[in-house]
Each structure stands twice: as structure tokens, then as C-alpha cells.
């Protein structure tokens, strides 16, 4: 029911373009994550949906109705602010019931519904406290309950977890995701935390400089990034710059001759390699087989991260799965690395 469509949405601030030409179709019940570096326009996009920022161009449709010029109080969006923005002079129960009070829900019914919302976030016991008597995590949950209590058409979350410690963040992530799925709420969440985005989203939108770079599932973004920016922003990649000399042949500026995707057009390009796509001691007939010297080694737990110099100009990052019996190299060791031609992603450079 609550499908949200953004069409060519833009916002300028004087000469700076905060958001440019954002078009998105968000089906009912989808959890969409806006991901991107600081200043790329995520918050501005979210605030245009909530009605706090007037678009310079484009339109917003909710449930098929054009709401572009509708004031925020008539939109029925539920927003969770980054700093929670609870009403400091109202109790937890009054905060949660505020939206219902504005909708003229009778007192008894309002209190029951507010209590129900608080129960969803497991805070019924704290209903009579004031916000300042709560921990950060509890305040966050009140903000969520307050937004849920109005049964919004869309739930808008602006970095809702950024003020929580790492452990709590992981818990709340799961909690929000489960609630959202159970209620079937169309949701947009803004974050610049990649892991958060990957664990929570149905679909992700990667933004940079106000524009959408790619929309897709986690797998789409990771395995088929649209451009060099996405390849670097979602997951890690090593970028080797050089030229596609002939179909399937890539020469780095450091002089290495590498096998690559035969479909890549000739010309200047970068070759992006995921750290886990590169293997140690490849079989003799591997597409790419190179020797190099280990320059840096970090133990990350599940993986061992190695920085290996292949030529004076080329260095790659390699992740080795930390299995039992792994003969870990040491700094200064010479190692043989290899990867299939298809593992490298080629992006043409201007």
C-alpha cells in the first residue's frame, strides 16, 4: 500500500547541489538504505521525504498521491532523528502518545496504543520516566516507539544507531529489522556505516556528490559495482591503474601484463580486485600468476590481511581465510599470488 516514489528529486543550496536528480521507486514494505560518504546528500533526501526541506525540483509520491508540497504534519511519515529529538518535558509515555494526541485519538485509546508501541521496543517499564533519565540506547528506542505509534506510511531513519556503542548497535540493528519486517513498514534508513547498510537493507542506494551511483541488492553492489566509486565504497578493492591493450589483456602502469575480462573495451582503465579473490600459491595454469614481496601483515581474526608488492608501482591487498593449518607468510617473504581473469573488475578511465 505505502509505496514511495521519488522522481528527479533535486535540492540546491545556492551554488551547491545537495541532491541531484534522485529517482527511486520503493515498493511497500521494503527496507531501503541510503549509503554514501559524508555530505553526499543522504540526509537532505530523507528530509525532503519528511517535508522539512523543500525540493528545488522533482516530485514525491506516497501511496500514489503527490505529496511534494504537503507540509510535514500532513504526511504521516515517522522519523527517527539522529539525536532522537525526544520532547524533554514529556514522559516516555507522553512522548510516545504525542502523535496520537495530534490525531485526536481519545485519551484512553491513545494511552493503550502508546503502551503497545513501548512494548514493541521493550520499554513499558520506563513509561513514566523523563527522557533525561534514560540511557542513550533507551532514548533511541523511545524515539522509535514514538515514530511507530502513529503507524506511519514510511519510517525514516537518519543514522539512528550512530550514537550507540558497537555492541548495542548490533542488537538494535536486528531489533529494528525484525520490527520493520513484522509491521511490513516501508522504510528508508540513512547511514554511512557500510556494515550496517549491508546487514539491514533489502536494497541499497549508493550516493556520491548528491547523485545516485547505483541501486541494488548487496550482491549486485559487491559483485557488479557500477563504477570505480561503488567498487571502492562497498567492500574493499585494490585498484591497479593501466590500459586495456587488447581484449582480455591489461597492462598496469607498473608494467605487469594481466589477464582480464575479455569484454572490457580497450583504453585507459583501472582494474579492481577484491582482497579475497586473490589466492596464495595458485595452480600453474592460473589466468594470473605473479610473484611479490609481503610488505604488511595484519591479523584481523577471521582473515589475515597481506599487502603484497607486485611491481614498483603495483601493490595489492590480499585476505587469506584464517583456517587451521594456514602457513602464514611473514613480512619480507616472497609469495606467489594468482586470480582468475574474471575476478578483476575493469572500469574505463577518462
Amino acid at each position: 500500500m505505502a509505496r514511495l516514489e521519488l522522481e528527479s528529486l533535486s535540492r540546491h543550496y545556492g551554488a551547491t547541489v545537495a541532491v541531484r536528480d534522485v529517482t527511486l521507486d520503493i515498493p511497500d514494505g521494503e527496507f531501503l538504505v541510503l549509503l554514501g560518504p559524508s555530505g553526499c546528500g543522504k540526509t537532505t533526501t530523507l528530509r525532503m521525504v519528511a517535508g522539512f526541506v523543500e525540493p528545488s525540483g522533482g516530485s514525491i509520491r506516497l501511496r500514489g498521491e503527490d505529496i511534494t508540497r504537503r507540509p510535514p504534519w500532513r504526511r504521516n511519515t515517522g522519523m527517527v532523528f539522529q539525536n532522537y529529538a525526544l520532547f524533554p518535558h514529556m514522559t516516555v509515555a507522553e512522548n510516545t502518545g504525542f502523535g496520537l494526541e495530534m490525531r485526536k485519538v481519545p485519551k484512553a485509546e491513545r494511552e493503550a496504543q502508546a503502551r503497545e508501541a513501548l512494548r514493541m521496543v521493550r520499554l513499558e517499564a520506563l513509561a513514566d520516566r523523563l527522557p533525561r533519565q534514560l540511557s542513550g540506547g533507551q532514548q533511541q528506542r523511545v524515539a522509535l516507539a514514538r515514530a511507530l505509534a502513529i503507524r506511519p506510511d514510511v519510517l525514516l531513519l537518519d543514522e539512528p544507531l550512530s550514537n550507540l556503542d558497537a555492541k548495542l548497535r548490533e542488537e538494535v540493528r536486528i531489533e529494528i529489522r525484525e520490527l520493520q519486517r513484522r509491521l511490513g513498514l516501508t522504510t528508508i534508513m540513512v547511514t554511512h556505516d557500510q556494515e550496517e547498510a549491508l546487514t539491514m537493507a533489502d536494497r541499497l542506494v549508493v550516493m556520491a556528490e548528491g547523485a545516485i551511483r547505483q541501486v541494488g541488492t548487496q550482491r549486485d553492489l559487491y559483485e557488479r559495482p557500477a563504477d570505480r566509486f561503488v567498487a571502492g565504497f562497498v567492500g574493499r578493492s585494490t585498484f591497479l591503474s593501466g590500459t586495456v591493450e587488447a581484449p582480455g589483456r591489461f597492462r598496469t602502469t607498473g608494467g605487469l601484463a594481466l589477464a582480464c575480462d575479455p569484454g572490457a573495451p580497450p583504453g585507459r582503465a583501472v582494474l579492481a580486485l577484491r582482497p579475497e579473490a586473490i589466492g596464495l600459491d595458485p595452480p600453474p595454469h592460473a589466468d594470473n600468476r605473479l610473484g611479490g614481496e609481503v610488505e604488511l601483515l595484519s591479523y584481523l581474526g577471521p582473515v589475515l590481511e597481506m599487502h603484497v608488492r607486485l611491481s614498483p608501482e603495483d601493490r595489492v591487498v590480499v585476505h587469506l581465510a584464517n583456517r587451521a593449518g594456514l602457513a602464514a607468510p611473514r613480512i619480507g617473504d616472497r609469495v606467489a599470488l594468482g586470480w582468475p581473469a574474471g575476478a578483476g573488475m575493469v572500469f574505463a578511465e577518462p
Partner: protein
């Protein structure tokens, strides 16, 4: 001990500059006044009885209260939007705006009242404009009315109200207003349920300040109200300087102070109780 030592200079100033004159004044107010003999040492409540039994003086007190209350309410209504804009503006010229609000205070009350006299007169700017616009056919009397006095005091007190409100509104997170809008509150409801309750300390401080200044106004009522428009400030002055009746002047001054203190304390208590709820 150290903290006590730090407070000593301020304490001395307060005792020497405020408490002593007050005690002296109170003592005078208990003295008797015999025409020709100036002040006669006594301990009598006669001056206070005189004030509270004479309808003339009670009318003056009532008029002063009415003017001060009206001025406070008008300052609040005019000052809140102004303070809000000042607190929320993103303009680089914010400091200039604040100076613009305070600027009128650079002109003394008497000079400013003289300015108003020019504006309010039968041939003044206000009447000329209204006549020119065809809103009135004959000049209206503004000069020497309560209206003129109220307008005059409002102009003096507005900056105090605006600054008190602005500093408090600045401390209220903008996101809280947005949260109210987001939850379905139109601007009026947001103001009533969120912004005003949170701005209450500023409303209280500004109102008390404005009320006190209004109760004690001197130059403005004298110049804009004329000789027949008596308020407490000029009344005290008249008793001391014109009638030479120090005991009665002291008593009036004390009544003025007590009433002002009583009302502001009462307002404070009421608001505090409502906020603690």
C-alpha cells in the same frame, strides 16, 4: 571559605548599595510628616494607612499595575516571534540583527519619549499617516493617553524581552520542533505543546524583567501620559521632590516594591509548579 571570600565584595556592594538605603527608606516611611517641620521622628503606620484608604492613591496603583501587565503581555506577543527568528536565523549577520534589537536602548528614555511626543501629536507622524490613508477624518488623541504610555514603555522594554527569550530558544534543539511537525502537529500545536513549554524559563525571565521595568517606569509616563496620568514612579518622585514629604514618599516606594516583588514571586511559583508537573 575560599568561595565565601570570593563572594565578599559582591556582598558588600549589595549591603552598602541596596540594603542600607532600603532600610533607611523603610525607617523614613514610619516617620511622621508635619508641614513646615519636614520629617518628625516617629514609629507609625499612618503613611501606609493613608495610601490604602485614599481612592486616589489606590487608583494610581491599579493604573500602574494595569499598564505594567499590558506592557508585559504586548512585549511577549511582539517579542516571541522576533526572538524566535533571531534564535533560528542562519544569517551571517546575526550579530548585526541583535545589535539592531538593542540599538533603541542607546537612546535615553527621556529622549525617546520626546520622539514619541512628536509622532503622537495632533499633527504628528501617526495622525498624518492615518489621515493620509483616509483611515480617519479627524486627528485622534494619542498623546497624554494610556495608549501612548503603553506604546512608549513597550518600546523601551521590548529589547529585554527579546534577549531573554532568544537566549532560551537558542538552547532548544531545532530537531524537537521538527519531531513535533513530523508527528502531525501543525505550527500552532507545536508552539503550544513543545516550543512554549520549553521556552518557559525565558518567558518567565523576560516577563518579570518587563513587568518590573513597567511598574517602575518614570520618564515615559511623565512625558507621554502628561500631568494627569499618574503612575507609581512619578508619584514617589513628586512626594520626595515637590511635596518634600519623605515619609509618605518612602511608604509609596515601599508599597511599589512590595507589590512588584509579591507578583513576580507568585508568577514564578505558579510557573515552576506547572513546569515540574
Amino acid at each position: 571559605m575560599r568561595a565565601g571570600a570570593l563572594l565578599l565584595p559582591a556582598t558588600l556592594v549589595v549591603v552598602a548599595g541596596l540594603l542600607l538605603p532600603l532600610l533607611l527608606l523603610f525607617r523614613y516611611s514610619l516617620n511622621a510628616f508635619v508641614p513646615g517641620q519636614f520629617m518628625v521622628e516617629a514609629v507609625t503606620a499612618a503613611n501606609y494607612v493613608k495610601f490604602f484608604t485614599d481612592p486616589f492613591y489606590l487608583a494610581v496603583l491599579w493604573r500602574t499595575l494595569r499598564v505594567a501587565a499590558l506592557v508585559t503581555v504586548i512585549c511577549l506577543i511582539l517579542g516571541f516571534p522576533l526572538a524566535y527568528v533571531l534564535a533560528r536565523t542562519q544569517s551571517r549577520h546575526k550579530n548585526l540583527l541583535i545589535i539592531a534589537v538593542v540599538l533603541p536602548l542607546f537612546v535615553g528614555n527621556a529622549v525617546r519619549a520626546a520622539g514619541w511626543m512628536v509622532a503622537f501629536g495632533a499633527k504628528g507622524a501617526v495622525n498624518a499617516s492615518l489621515l493620509g490613508l483616509g483611515l480617519i477624518t479627524r486627528p485622534i488623541d494619542i498623546m497624554y493617553t494610556e495608549t501612548a504610555v503603553v506604546i512608549g514603555i513597550v518600546a523601551v522594554n521590548l529589547p529585554f524581552m527579546v534577549l531573554s527569550l532568544q537566549s532560551v530558544i537558542e538552547g532548544i534543539d531545532r530537531a524537537v520542533e521538527e519531531a513535533a511537525f513530523n508527528l502531525g502537529a501543525p505550527p500552532g500545536a507545536m508552539l503550544r505543546r513543545v516550543l512554549l513549554p520549553l521556552a518557559m524559563p525565558g518567558v518567565l525571565a523576560g516577563s518579570i524583567l518587563t513587568f518590573i521595568l513597567g511598574m517602575n517606569a518614570y520618564a515615559t509616563p511623565v512625558l507621554l501620559g502628561g500631568p494627569r496620568f499618574q503612575t507609581m514612579g512619578p508619584l514617589v518622585y513628586g512626594q520626595f521632590i515637590e511635596q518634600n514629604n519623605w515619609p509618605f514618599g518612602g511608604a509609596i516606594a515601599f508599597v511599589l516594591m512590595a507589590v512588584t516583588l509579591l507578583l513576580t514571586t507568585l508568577a514564578n511559583l505558579v510557573v515552576q509548579r506547572r513546569m515540574r508537573r
